[in-house]
């Protein structure tokens, strides 16, 4: 297999995890216009949960998803109940909610990072798991990347199936599109908001657990993943799981190829370059249909 194809495939593998991170943030931003820039910190906590269970208790990292997911769901519910619920209730316009949630979640980001610093210090922490080579379609990848991709893909498919194949998921998509419409048909809007925020945080936690199998952890890893997720959401369109998935894969491939041809130091430059291009050429996202254009969506 050609080297380029191999590089692109390794980008796809990482892109699958990017997609899962973005899907979680998309649930929160697409549904409630809560711009939670502490999303990456939920991911960081998920990573440390896995690290601690693996290094102190000898758990299999995959098993730790059963802890990091539910734990971060509970954290998400608590954060929503304590902070964002009031913002949503008091907001007068969508813009006001976006601005206020951005400010509050910035604060939350610093608090969570510093708590992590106090608990686990700034040292890099990690463990080795499935780092032997694995052959896939003639190319060789670390086995842990393939496993992380498969699990991220599985979660994304499950979420897609829930949103498109069940009445509860369809109702959630409806709520994302028109909150007044949701009230008119009697949907429990507040409870759905809380559950969605929790679900978004849980997906961040699971993503963190998966990433901890690949890279070492520090308390400040969250920010770059938040930015990555925001770029993927803009690529894929607000509220669209399939769009986030495609956007995540695309960003992964662009990043891998770009780094291959330039230098790893250009990683963030490349990501922002993709973002700038999309914002100029397709401001509603690469895959957005007419009906999903933001100006036709009801103000949340």
């Amino acid at each position: 297999m050609s080297l380029l194809l191999e590089v692109a495939m390794s980008g796809l593998l990482l892109g699958g995890v990017y997609a899962l991170i973005a899907v979680g943030l998309n649930l929160q931003y697409g549904l409630m216009r809560i711009l939670n820039v502490a999303h990456g910190e939920f991911l960081m906590i998920g990573g440390y949960v896995t690290y601690l269970l693996v290094s102190l208790r000898g758990w299999n990292p995959l098993l730790t998803l059963l802890v990091s997911g539910p734990l971060l769901f509970a954290v998400g519910l608590a954060v929503h109940g304590l902070l964002f619920r009031h913002l949503v209730r008091l907001r007068r316009t969508r813009e006001e909610l976006e601005a206020n949630s951005l400010l509050i979640s910035f604060g939350l980001m610093f608090i969570l990072q510093n708590v992590a610093l106090i608990l686990w210090q700034a040292d890099m922490r990690g463990y080795r798991y499935l780092d032997q080579p694995l052959q896939v379609f003639g190319a060789v990848f670390p086995a842990n990347r393939v496993v992380a991709f498969a699990i991220a893909l599985g979660f994304t498919i499950l979420l897609f199936a829930f949103l498109h194949g069940t009445l509860a998921g369809t109702s959630l998509r409806g709520l994302m599109q028109d909150v007044v419409g949701a009230r008119l048909v009697g949907l429990p809007v507040r409870r759905m908001h809380a559950a969605c925020f929790g679900l978004g945080a849980a997906l961040a936690g699971v993503s963190g657990s998966l990433l901890s199998m690949l890279y070492p952890l520090t308390p400040d890893i969250g920010v770059s993943y938040t930015v990555t997720a925001l770029i993927v959401i803009i690529l894929g369109g607000l509220g669209s799981v399939a769009g986030s998935f495609a956007g995540g894969l695309l960003l992964g491939v662009v990043e891998a190829l770009g780094v291959h041809f330039t230098d790893p130091a250009f990683r963030m430059v490349l990501k922002y370059g993709v973002l700038a291009l999309v914002l100029v050429l397709r401001p509603y996202g690469l895959f957005n249909t007419v009906a999903r254009r933001p100006e036709q969506m009801q103000k949340a």
Partner: protein, 258 residues
């Protein structure tokens, strides 16, 4: 100022309150401390079409929102009461009111543009109907509006204005309501579509649903209405049977241009 009541049409019942489903009693409401409704009272019997006439800004939308609890934009109900089947509902929120069987099609419709017709209808039934009742409700809506069946897999946001209005009514009917509130349903629609909508209203009434319609299209709505009210500057100024209001000089001058 109290409303000028026209002689009531005989309903065959001695008690004028028999069969009353909805009663709005001297309601007062304001937006951000700006009063919009003063002492407005209204009554709707079971299986009646009740028309609410009024110019833009007269308070029709506010009156409807006071009934359905849709308090977007800081609407406060500051006085009076709303009763439904004899029970006060003024303090309930929108989702509790939906569960009682009151469905609302507001101005702007508020459909889910990225969902298909079928998905919009099914989501409409979630809060009120058990799983087993949904298919039956769906069949009723499709029978009433075959156009929706033809468009069942189309995204709501890509349909024409008239079809969207039908879908909004269909989604409300998926709640199996006892009372249906329609805010300016004919606004912006072609005359043929308006006629079709009013035909649907008649069939909905035949099914025993009370329909409260706020309209500026006075002629059509009054010729159907069992009861009608004129709302001016937040006050009910005229009430009576639809056919009586059609003949009333004020209505003829102000709303029919005669």
């Amino acid at each position: 100022m109290s409303a000028q009541a026209l002689p009531q049409r005989s309903t065959g019942s001695g008690d004028p309150r028999a069969g009353v489903l909805l009663e709005i009693k001297r309601i007062q409401a304001q937006y951000r401390e700006v009063p919009v409704l003063w002492d407005a009272s209204l009554m709707g019997g079971r299986g009646e079409i009740v028309a609410l006439l009024g110019a833009n800004g007269a308070g029709k939308t506010t009156l409807m929102r006071a009934v359905t609890g849709l308090r977007e934009g800081f609407l406060d109900v500051t006085g009076g009461d709303v009763t439904f089947q004899g029970q006060s509902i003024a303090h309930l929120d929108a989702s509790q009111i939906v569960k009682l069987g009151i469905a609302h099609v507001p101005e702007g419709r508020h459909l889910f543009p990225g969902l298909t017709t079928l998905e919009n209808l099914l989501v409409g039934s979630v809060a009120r109907l058990a799983r087993g009742q949904r298919r039956e409700a769906l069949e009723r809506v499709f029978e009433l509006m075959p156009r929706l069946f033809e468009r069942r897999h189309q995204l709501a946001g890509t349909m024409s204005g008239g079809e969207q209005q039908m879908l909004a009514i269909g989604r409300a009917l998926m709640q199996n309501p006892t009372l249906l509130l329609l805010d300016e349903p004919s606004q912006g629609l072609a005359p043929r579509m308006v006629a079709a909508l009013f035909e649907i209203m008649v069939k909905v009434r035949q099914a025993g649903v009370t329909v409260l319609i706020a309209e500026q299209n006075a002629h059509q709505v009054l010729s159907l209405a069992d009861r009608a009210y004129v709302l001016e500057h937040g006050r009910i100024t005229l009430e009576g049977a639809g056919s009586q209001l059609l003949e009333h000089p004020t209505v003829r001058r102000a709303y029919l241009g005669l």
